[in-house]
Amino acid sequence: MASLSATSLSFKAPSIQSTRISQVLRKPSSFQSISFGGFQSSKSLRLQISCAAKPETVQKVSDIVKEQLALSADTALTAESKFSALGADSLDTVEIVMALEEKFNISVEESDAQNITTIQEAADLIEDLVQKKPAA
C-alpha cells in the first residue's frame, strides 16, 4: 500500500527533487509499475518505510494505548511495542480494541481482534478497515 502511494508521490514531485526522491523510493519497491490512479491522501513527501500504515495512524493508536494503560506521557512507544510488554493483559487488549473501534468508527471482527499484539498490527488493521468502509 505504502509503495503505491510512494510511486504516485514521486510522479507528482517537482522535477528537481524527483530524481533524488525517486532513487531513494525505488530501492525498496522494485516491483512497482504504473500507479493505478488510486487517490490516497498522501499529504507530504514522506519516506514511508513501514509497510502499509501511516505514521499518523500509528501515532493515534499509540495515544489511545497510552491513555488506556495509563502510561506516563514520556514512555517511548514504538510501532513494534507489544501490548503485553506494556503491561496489558487480555482484558486491557479488548478495551484498547474497543477504544480504537470507537475512535476510528470501524468494526473489528473477533478473529482479527485476537491477532492484534503490537501497535503496528493494530494500525495496519485500522487502515485496512478504514479503506474498505467507504467503498461499502
Partner: protein, 86 residues
C-alpha cells in the same frame, strides 16, 4: 472449565452490545460494569467458580440485548450534556 478465548469473546460481546444504547448513561454503565466485573473475577482458578461467573456473564448478555431492544424503541430526543463537545 471455560476457555480463556470464550471469556474474552463474552467480554467483547458485552462491550459491543452495550455500545449500541442511545442513552449515554446506560452505555457508560454497561462498559464500566463489564470491565469491573471481568477484572474482579480475573484471578479465579476454581473451575466451578469460573463456570459460574461465565454463566452469569451470559445471562447478563441476554439481559443487555433484551433491554437494548426496548431502549431502541424510545430513543432520547435530546443529547445528554456529557456527549456535547465543549
Amino acid at each position: 472449565m471455560v476457555a480463556k478465548c470464550q471469556v474474552i469473546s463474552l467480554c467483547r460481546s458485552l462491550l459491543r452490545a452495550g455500545c449500541k444504547y442511545p442513552d449515554y448513561n446506560i452505555r457508560e454503565y454497561t462498559k464500566r460494569r463489564t470491565l469491573d466485573g471481568f477484572r474482579m473475577n480475573k484471578n479465579l482458578t476454581d473451575p466451578s467458580k469460573v463456570n459460574d461467573a461465565y454463566a452469569e456473564g451470559k445471562e447478563q448478555l441476554e439481559v443487555v440485548e433484551r433491554v437494548l431492544k426496548v431502549y431502541l424503541a424510545y430513543p432520547p430526543k435530546t443529547k445528554n450534556i456529557m456527549e456535547l463537545k465543549v
